[in-house]
């Protein structure tokens, strides 16, 4: 009847998607420029900037970031599983404090967490030790909330009676964990892992403070290169580092069904 408000809504939604997708598409297009300038629309057509993006200068930080993100995701998950169980299942003194500290990085600006970690490491005399391990610690700190949260949510979503049912059918505590609890929360575990990976892979704030010159994540490398202006190489590189998490999430969604966690779909019945 009254199409006015609906049309307005359509325009707003279209604008939102335009602003989400537009920059990505423009960046992708810029990477095909013939010259060393970031023209849009691109002038001429060339793949040389893509070739450039695969030069050791860029592949090295890219691989470094991938490795760091993978390791961060694994460590954060390994710590996150017992933490999620503790928060979800048990009462212990100081629980609220421990939980706030664990989830804190979620609301603290990473910049602040980064500076704080840097200060802390210097004060306790490990300043010289800064580098890979400090970077890993920093990344685990900021990624841990993601794995803890998703695992805790999947634990919470599981009806308690399911574990009781397994116990009444003769399953001891370990068998309950192995055959019932764990398989049910596996999508949550992988979703948390994916979130941790992506958060680490895209982080720059923490890395800026903690990374040693020789060991630079790709985000820091891009940032430093930006001092010389935005080149088509960077555009190609940006698209590459955008595709990696996308592919990862798609693969996980395909094989473990983490879609429920990412897209808020209706859970299993």
């Amino acid at each position: 009847m009254n199409a006015g408000p609906w049309n307005l809504l359509r325009i707003v939604v279209a604008a939102i998607y335009l602003f989400i997708l537009g920059p990505i598409l423009i960046t992708a297009a810029v990477a095909f420029n013939e010259s060393n300038r970031s023209y849009f629309p691109p002038r001429g057509f060339s793949l040389k900037w893509w070739g450039e993006a695969f030069a050791p200068q860029w592949v090295q930080p890219l691989m470094f970031s991938l490795e760091l993100a993978a390791l961060t995701a694994i460590v954060a998950t390994a710590i996150g599983i017992p933490l999620a169980f503790a928060f979800q299942r048990y009462e212990f003194p100081g629980k609220a404090i421990v939980r706030t500290i664990t989830l804190g990085p979620l609301i603290l600006p990473t910049l602040v967490t980064g500076i704080a970690l840097l200060q802390f490491l210097t004060v306790i005399g490990l300043g010289r030790w800064l580098g890979y391990w400090a970077l890993l610690i920093g990344h685990v700190i900021i990624c841990l909330p993601f794995s803890v949260r998703t695992i805790a949510i999947s634990l919470q979503a599981m009806p308690g009676s399911v574990e009781n049912a397994a116990a009444s059918l003769g399953a001891g505590p370990l068998a309950v964990l192995r055959y019932v609890t764990f398989p049910i929360i596996v999508p949550g575990i992988f979703a948390g892992m994916a979130f941790a990976f992506i958060h680490s892979f895209t982080d720059i704030n923490m890395s800026l403070f903690i990374a040693k010159p020789g060991q630079r994540p790709v985000t820091v490398a891009i940032m430093s290169f930006l001092d010389f202006g935005f080149a088509p190489t960077l555009a190609a590189l940006s698209i590459l580092s955008l595709l990696i998490p996308l592919v990862l999430v798609a693969l996980l969604g395909r094989f473990v069904g983490i879609g429920n966690f990412l897209y808020q779909e209706q859970g299993r019945g």
């Binding site: 009806p159 009676s161 399911v162 009781n164 049912a165 397994a166 116990a167 009444s168 059918l169 003769g170 399953a171 001891g172 068998a175 055959y179 019932v180 398989p183 049910i184 299993r268 019945g269």
Partner: protein, 360 residues
């Protein structure tokens, strides 16, 4: 004498200062269907969880077939349990759900597949083995839960409000199905519900619970017709309760009573003369007649007709008794009842249809 399938003795479970289960004694005979009935918070589910081993009692004993189990964890108790929310394993097929208990017991692959097929057939779900729980309707899920609990041939069956998540029609269907299955298998069963209809139709005996205690235990007819307390009387069905005094020492189980609505004679347990008691009459046993229409030997009170509620097969007639208190009569709608609000009428009952309980 054979041991009962289940014996609870002086069972106590406290949560903080509150005793959720406050000294329960109960024996369930082999093959018997016993219902724990009560309002929410009465301790019936806590009692079931104590039997299953999900909770540990603070005091008392639980014996299954003569063996004390109160210190055993649930997985060593050999009980089949059906949960209110079915508690099917969402990541397993129907067949794997049913097979779970057998797998935990190390039953061979061939025997497992035979027994799973048998169990699914028992609950009329042949051919559903490959489905996932989320592809089933509520009723079908409940059947899978039942098959999963029965396939392990447990010492007894525990049912925790298994029908409360089903819609009305399905609930009645499952009610008779669970009953007939239980009878056929002859498995001792404890059933927890807040639904008196389920309790009355399915049980061999009902234990009515309130405040962590068993108020009364007996057959459905005993519970309905000879309630021992006011709580039991009013929790099951509707009932008229009239305060009364015992006028004479009871003879042959009948007592002469004085009530505000008029003198009465009623069946009595052990009430003595002069004591304040409660006279109870079920609405369907309170009859209506015109002046002088009550049969001889009946207790007849004069009353006025209040609202008449038409329910189809029956009429619910609200009455105002001589002292102004209200009562309800339920009459079969035989097409000949013609009542007007405010009309004078005689409400009568036979002494054997009225039952005296203790009370102030």
């Amino acid at each position: 004498m054979a041991d009962p399938a289940l014996r609870l003795q002086a069972l106590v479970k406290r949560f903080g200062a509150h005793a959720a289960v406050d000294g329960i004694d109960l024996a369930v005979a082999p093959g018997e269907f016993v219902t724990l009935l009560g309002p929410s918070g009465c301790g019936k589910t806590t009692t079931l969880n104590l039997i299953a081993g999900f909770l540990m009692p603070d005091a008392g004993f639980i014996a299954l077939n003569g063996k004390l189990v109160q210190d055993l964890p649930p997985f060593k108790r050999d009980l089949g349990m059906v949960f209110q929310d079915y508690a099917l394993f969402p990541h397993m097929s129907v067949a794997d759900n049913v097979a779970f208990g057998l797998k935990m017991r190390g039953v061979s692959r061939e025997e497992t597949s035979t027994r799973v097929a048998e169990a699914l057939s028992l609950v009329k779900l042949d051919g559903f083995g490959a489905r996932r729980p989320n592809q089933l309707s509520g009723g079908q899920r409940q059947r899978v839960a039942l098959a999963r609990a029965l396939v392990i041939r447990p010492a007894m069956l525990l049912l925790d409000e298994p029908l409360s998540n089903l819609d009305l029609k399905l609930r009645e269907e499952m009610r008779s199905e669970i009953s007939s299955l239980q009878r056929r298998l002859g498995i001792a069963t404890v059933f927890v519900t807040h639904d008196q209809g389920e309790a009355l139709t399915m049980s061999d005996r009902i234990a009515v619970m309130s405040d962590g205690k068993i108020e009364q235990i007996g057959t459905p007819a005993e519970i309905y017709e000879r309630p021992s307390t006011r709580f039991v009387a009013s929790f099951i069905g509707s009932i008229n309760i009239v305060p009364a005094k015992v006028a004479e020492v009871p003879v042959n189980g009948y007592a002469r009573l004085e009530t505000p609505a008029g003198p009465a004679i009623a069946q009595v347990g052990g009430a003595a003369s002069g004591r304040s008691v409660m006279l109870t009459i079920r609405p369907e046993r309170l009859k209506l007649a015109g002046a002088g229409g009550a049969p001889s030997g009946a207790v007849a009170w004069s009353a006025r007709v209040g609202r008449v509620v038409y329910t189809g097969a029956r009429l619910e007639v609200q009455l105002r008794l001589a002292d102004g208190s209200e009562a309800m009569a339920e009459a079969t709608n035989d097409g000949r009842i013609n009542l007007a609000e405010g009309q004078g009428i005689v409400a009568w009952f036979r002494p054997e249809d009225a039952w005296v309980i203790a009370g102030a």
